[in-house]
Symmetry: C2
Subunit: 288 residues, 2 copies
C-alpha cells in the first residue's frame, strides 16, 4: 500500500493505471476511519475485482466547513487510518495537503443548485459547494471507474450523483448501506465527540426513524407536519438534544412531501450539545 500526498503524483499513477486498463475504485473520506468507511473500501474492492486498484482519499476538506464549524477540531489519525486501510486491502491512500488541493489563488467551484438546497444545504449553506468541488477534483485526480459513498450521507450522495450526471463524469457512483452500532447509532467520525451521557442520548436519531416507519406501517395517511412535531418532541426528551431539522421527502428529487408513506425518505439533523449528528432512512421498512 502506498501513501501519496502529491496531487501530480496521484494523477500520474492514475494515468498509468488507465493506460494498463486497470479498473479503479475510489472511496473519498475525511479520514478517522470507522467500520462504515471500511465497508465502503470492501465494496470498492468487490466492484473493481482483485486486479483493480482501490484508492482511499483522506482529506479534511476545508471548503465544505463553514467558518463556525468544526474544521480545526475534526478528528484526525492518519497512522491508525493507514493500518485500517492496509488491513482492508487498499492499494493507495491519497492524502493531499490543503495547499496542494487549494493553491493560494484557487478560484473554481462546482455548485449544484437543486438537490443541495434543502436540509443540510439550509443548515450549512456552503457545504455542498465544497463537497461537489472536492469530489470533482478527486475524480479528475484519481480517475476512478467507480466511486463508493455511504448512504449515511444521503443528500451528499444525491448531490454527487447529480453532479456526475450533469457534468458527465465517466464515473459510476455506488451507495453502500449505513453501518450502525448495536443500539442503532449510525457510525460517524463525529461520534467521537459524544462524551458521557451524550452517547446514550444519540440513539434518539435512529429511534426516531424507526418510529416514523412504524407510523407509516400503521397509518393510511400520515401528515408530515404532525409526524415531525411528534418526533421532535420524542427526540428532545433527551436533555442534550436539539433538533435542527426533520424532513420527509421524495428520495429522487429530494422534494418535501406533505403526506408521508412507504415511498418517503426521512432525514434528520440533531445537535447533542455542540455535536451535530445526521441520519436518514427510507420509510418502507427495508432498512438503509
Amino acid at each position: 500500500m502506498r501513501v501519496i500526498t502529491s496531487v501530480a503524483a496521484m494523477q500520474r499513477l492514475a494515468l498509468r493505471w488507465r493506460r494498463r486498463g486497470a479498473r479503479v475504485g475510489c472511496v473519498p473520506t475525511m479520514g478517522y476511519l470507522h467500520a462504515g468507511h471500511l465497508s465502503l473500501v470492501r465494496c470498492a474492492r468487490r466492484l473493481v475485482g482483485p486486479k483493480g486498484k482501490v484508492v482511499v482519499s483522506i482529506f479534511v476538506n476545508p471548503t465544505q466547513f463553514a467558518p463556525t464549524e468544526d474544521l480545526a477540531r475534526y478528528p484526525r489519525d492518519l497512522k491508525r487510518d493507514r493500518e485500517l486501510c492496509r488491513e482492508t486491502g487498499t492499494d493507495v491512500i491519497f492524502a493531499p495537503t490543503e495547499r496542494q488541493m487549494y493553491p493560494a489563488d484557487y478560484s473554481t467551484f462546482v455548485v449544484e443548485e437543486r438537490l443541495s438546497r434543502p436540509m443540510e444545504g439550509e443548515s450549512r449553506p456552503t457545504h455542498f459547494r465544497g463537497v461537489a468541488t472536492v469530489v470533482a477534483k478527486l475524480f479528475n485526480i484519481v480517475l476512478p471507474d467507480v466511486a463508493v459513498f455511504g448512504a449515511k450521507d444521503f443528500q451528499q450522495a444525491a448531490v454527487v450523483q447529480r453532479m456526475v450526471r450533469d457534468l458527465n463524469f465517466p464515473v459510476k457512483i455506488v451507495l453502500a448501506p449505513t453501518v450502525r452500532e448495536v443500539d442503532g447509532l449510525a457510525l460517524s467520525s463525529r461520534n467521537k465527540y459524544l462524551e458521557g451521557p451524550l452517547r446514550a442520548q444519540a440513539v434518539a436519531l435512529s429511534q426516531a426513524i424507526a418510529k416514523a416507519r412504524e407510523a407509516v406501517k400503521r397509518g393510511a395517511s400520515v401528515k408530515a407536519d404532525a409526524l415531525r412535531s411528534e418526533l421532535r418532541e420524542f427526540i428532545e426528551e433527551q436533555p442534550a438534544a436539539r433538533v435542527d431539522y426533520i424532513e420527509f421527502f421524495n428520495p429522487v428529487t429530494l422534494e418535501k412531501v406533505d403526506s408521508v408513506d412507504r415511498r418517503t425518505h426521512m432525514a434528520l439533523a440533531v445537535f447533542l450539545g455542540a455535536t451535530r449528528l445526521i441520519d436518514n432512512g427510507p420509510l418502507d421498512g427495508k432498512g438503509g
Copy 2:
C-alpha cells in the same frame, strides 16, 4: 468523419479510444466555422499526430448567453461546418442537442470566481459560468488529452485554464493565435452581422490595439486612464461604434494596471450597432 449527436455515444467512443491508447484533441466551438476555427483544428491535429483523434464540438451553448443576447439569431450552418471539418481532417463532429446537454432538471454549474469577474464578466455576468460548465462537460464526454482554444477569446482561455488547474482536469490547454482579415479584423462568427458600412468600421478594434502598442513603444510611462480615453475617442469616431470596455491588465492575473507597458495585455469590447465585437492583444508588439 462521423457526426455524433448523442452524449452517451460520444463518451462511449471516447472511452474506446482511451482503451486503445489513442491521443485525443478537442476543439470546442459554437459552429459557423471560419478560418480561425480551422486553424484550431489543424493545431489539434498537429498535437495528437496522424494516429490521434480530433473532435470538433459544435454546440451553441445556451447557458453562456444572457436572455437579452443573440442566442436565437446566432448563425448556424451545420452542413457547411461539416464540409469544412471534413476538409481539415476532423475525425468526429460532436453536435449534441440542447436537451442532451441540459436535461430538464439540470442543476450543476462550474463557477470561476476571479479571472471571470472583469471585462466580459462585468458586461456578461453569467457568461463564464456557462462557458466553464459546458467545457467541463465536453472534457468529460470527449475525454481529450489536449484542447485547443483561440487567443481571440483571451479571457475565456484564461478562465478555462484556471478551471483545468483548479479542478485538476487531465487535459492540456493550448492557445492558438487569432486569425485576422487583411485589414486586421479578428475573425468571428459574429462578423456575419456586420452589414454595409459596419464592416469597415469594425477595423477600429484592431487599430486601437495597434495604437496602444505604438504608445507603449514611444512612451516610458503610459497612464491607463489617459490611453483608454484616447482610444475610446478614436474608436467612437466610427459613427456606429460604442465602446463597452477597454482594459489594460496583467495577462496572468487579469488584474487591471494603472500604468501600461510592454508586459501589459489589452482587451476591448465594442458595439457596432447591435453587434458586440471583442479583440485583444499583448502590447509587446509580438502580435497575438
